[in-house]
């Protein structure tokens, strides 16, 4: 028991980092689902594309002599903005090319789902091809950006805690995600576009009768969701330093789980679900073998996290923040 408590500060720091990433990616799933009732499986790969765009920007800027001495913060801002812009436009493009024609023809939702899986494969292999072609290796590793090491001295204040060590990148990831989460929340609840989005989510036909341009609202939703996903990709790159074209798959599934845990369609729920899942996973990875006396190692962390998910869903099938809705007819 004491060992679990000792590790708690470090688990908290690492869990939050992972949780923030899950949270923002989960928002992309939840926003699209809220509006179209479509599980956009390509979203995990939009996230991955964002990280590669970020790496590409970093390499290009570094190769331009006069920029290589630019302060890290400026570099980072350029990376994240370019990545967000490109992935945002990509998200809109995917919606226009792949999902809108299906919607126009009233194709069953299952068809759109399969289409999104197809797009996910296309993105993975396209990125892999481009990365392999330009750098000769599709596992991209960048130089560390925020490498300053911090140690929070929990131990001297609370003797039963160990110290937590983290890198500057943790601060960057947390601050940027918190800014993104708050501004998105304000956008959805306060602005005209946000209100339109909520109206479309509630009832698409009625919203269109209220002179809301539904297609444009859907485009905006895809833009925002994908841009956030792409920006998170850059954060992921900053935090872990290495990306490959297949990171979007596992992470996407977990982020989707987080969205379900929080109540799919609910933005705040997705934020909360993501952070919770990150913390649970990290807690399990660090402590599972202590809890079970070595019977189960940390390799079972996902099982542990998903058992909790199942338990939550048994008692609250609509997710933690979701409203129980009557099936739309």
């Amino acid at each position: 028991m004491s060992q679990i408590i000792q590790l708690l500060p470090q688990v908290l720091v690492d869990g939050l980092t992972l949780g923030f990433v899950y949270a923002v990616v989960a928002i992309g799933y939840t926003m699209v689902y809220g509006i179209l009732e479509l599980i956009n499986f390509a979203h995990g790969d939009i996230f991955m594309t964002g990280s590669f765009v970020g790496a590409g920007v970093l390499f290009t800027v570094m190769s331009m002599g006069f920029m290589s001495s630019a302060p890290t913060m400026v570099l980072f801002m350029i990376m994240i903005l370019v990545a967000a812009l490109i992935t945002g436009v990509m998200g809109v493009g995917i919606e226009r090319v792949a999902y809108r024609p299906l919607r126009k023809r009233n194709a069953p939702k299952l068809i759109a789902l399969i289409t999104s899986i197809g797009i996910s494969f296309i993105l993975e292999d396209a990125v892999r091809f481009i990365a392999d072609w330009t750098t000769g290796n599709y596992i991209i590793t960048t130089r560390p950006l925020f490498q300053h090491k911090f140690t929070i001295d929990f131990h001297s204040v609370f003797p039963f805690f160990n110290n937590a060590t983290f890198q500057g990148s943790f601060l960057v990831v947390s601050i940027v995600t918190i800014i993104m989460l708050i501004s998105l929340d304000l956008f959805v609840s306060k602005t005209k576009w946000g209100i339109a989005m909520r109206a479309v989510a509630q009832d698409r036909e009625t919203a269109s009768l209220m002179s809301i341009n539904v297609n444009r609202v859907i485009s905006v939703t895809f833009f925002i969701g994908s841009a956030l996903g792409g920006a998170t990709g850059v954060l992921f790159l900053i935090q872990y330093g290495t990306v490959d074209p297949y990171i979007g798959f596992i992470l996407g599934i977990k982020a989707f789980t987080a969205a379900v845990l929080g109540g799919i369609g609910n933005i705040r729920g997705a934020m909360f679900g993501g952070i919770l899942l990150g913390l649970l996973e990290m807690f399990a990875a660090a402590n599972l073998s202590t809890i079970t006396h070595g019977a189960m190692g940390s390799e079972y962390k996902d099982v542990f996290a998903f058992i909790i998910l199942i338990l939550v869903l048994i008692f609250k099938p609509e997710g933690l923040f979701g409203k129980a809705t009557i099936e739309k007819v």
Partner: protein, 394 residues
């Protein structure tokens, strides 16, 4: 309506294409020479693609070197590379495709033991001789299949050799072990653990991770809290190097040791300067130590514009051993194309092959009697690491 009319047209077209392709194949000769295909099966995509490609390229060089000798006998060598993606299912389905191609007489592969084991069942059924440059799990040859051979050492030798070095030479007492749950990673880690226990070291923890993930801080902080002298990792560089990096980020400066899966230039790319103080045991030595090896490295660089990886020379030797077997089988058969069965017997019978990286002599199970384990250490963040010592099988 229009679609309906298209169907017969398409059918005829498909038939015609099939016929043309079929004709092309059934000839099976190129410029009067009979084609002998050597298949390679290694991951050309996915996390271990660097290693898989090294094997393929090494085999390609061996074929190029032997091409003339075989041309004289009236044969043309063709390499047909397959991508097993490090995935057992893909490996088996490739193995079936390879077995169905009658021109293929032998297989170089696989990198991963987990893929080699099920795929070799298919080879065995079809009498197709396989030489693996890198599959080190004990079960690969312990099933005593007549077609399955390897030029590298076994895990139950690699793990203990690492443990020996760690405890006797580095003097560590407390060890934390992480493995990646694959047959390769956990087999290696378990062999290391058992030997380390025997030598009197304390095992502080034995944890697993999931291949393909990027965040291992949970396991790393658990390891850090246990305060070990050494972390041992059973697995491949894509995860191993990240564990090293995340351990260094948490302020752990202790040595980390791994198996041959860490033997890749990508390790350095991922872990950066954190790679300093990382040891790995591997089944391949530094080829550039011998004159032959340096020549090989230069030829490799000239052909593929890439530096040799650890497995390049083993890929070469595996293919060369197979070619020697085939060549013997041809001679025995009076210059005619031998059966797969005859090739498999000839390959197993090889006792005196002297290759780039290793001498090869197969024992009854298909293990190489001359296989050695080498211990390397990263002193700088540069690949390749420096060879510390070599350990020969007792």
């Amino acid at each position: 309506m229009r679609l309906k009319r298209m169907i017969p047209l398409l059918a005829i077209l498909a038939l015609a294409v099939g016929l043309i392709a079929g004709c092309g194949k059934s000839g099976g000769s190129a410029g009067g020479l009979k084609v002998i295909k050597i298949a390679t099966q290694s991951p050309l995509s996915g996390g271990s693609a660097t290693l898989g490609e090294a094997i393929k390229n090494g085999a390609q060089l061996a074929l190029d070197d032997q091409q003339k000798a075989f041309n004289k006998k009236g044969y043309k060598l063709v390499l047909s590379p397959y991508d097993d993606m490090g995935d057992p299912k893909k490996g088996v389905s490739n193995a079936q495709a390879i077995s169905a191609d009658n021109a293929v007489l032998a297989v170089v592969g696989h990198l991963n033991s987990g893929v080699a084991i099920p795929s070799s069942q298919v080879y065995q059924k079809n009498n197709l001789s396989m030489v693996s440059p890198a599959a080190t799990a004990t079960a690969v040859t312990d099933r005593e299949l007549s077609t399955v051979n390897r030029v590298c050492a076994r895990d139950d030798f690699q793990g203990p050799a690492g443990a020996n070095y760690a405890i006797k030479t580095l003097g560590v007492k407390k060890i934390f072990i992480i493995q990646d749950k694959t047959p390769y990673g956990s087999g290696l880690a378990a062999a290391f653990r058992d030997e380390a226990k025997k030598l009197g070291a304390t095992i502080l923890g034995y944890e697993g991770i999931t291949v393909g993930e990027k965040d291992f801080s949970g396991v790393v902080s658990k390891a850090a809290a246990a305060k070990p002298d050494l972390i041992y990792f059973g697995g491949v560089y894509a995860e191993g190097a990240l564990i090293v990096k995340q351990a260094r980020a948490q302020g752990l400066t202790i040595p980390v040791m791994g198996g041959d899966g860490m033997d890749s230039s990508t390790s350095v790319q991922i872990a950066g300067s954190g790679i300093k103080g990382v040891y790995y045991s591997t089944v391949v030595g530094d080829v550039t130590k011998t004159e032959k090896g340096r020549k090989f490295a230069a030829a490799y660089k000239a052909k593929f514009k890439k530096n040799v990886e650890g497995y390049s020379a083993y890929g070469y030797d595996s293919a060369a051993v197979l070619l020697e077997g085939i060549s013997k089988a041809i001679d025995k058969n009076g210059g005619k194309l031998p059966t797969r069965q005859a090739v498999a017997t000839a390959v197993r019978g090889i006792q005196d092959y002297d290759g780039i990286a290793t001498k090869v002599a197969f024992d009854g199970k298909g293990d190489n009697k001359f296989a050695k384990i080498y211990i390397y250490k990263f002193d700088k963040a540069v690949y390749p690491a420096t060879e510390q010592t070599e350990i020969t099988k007792k």
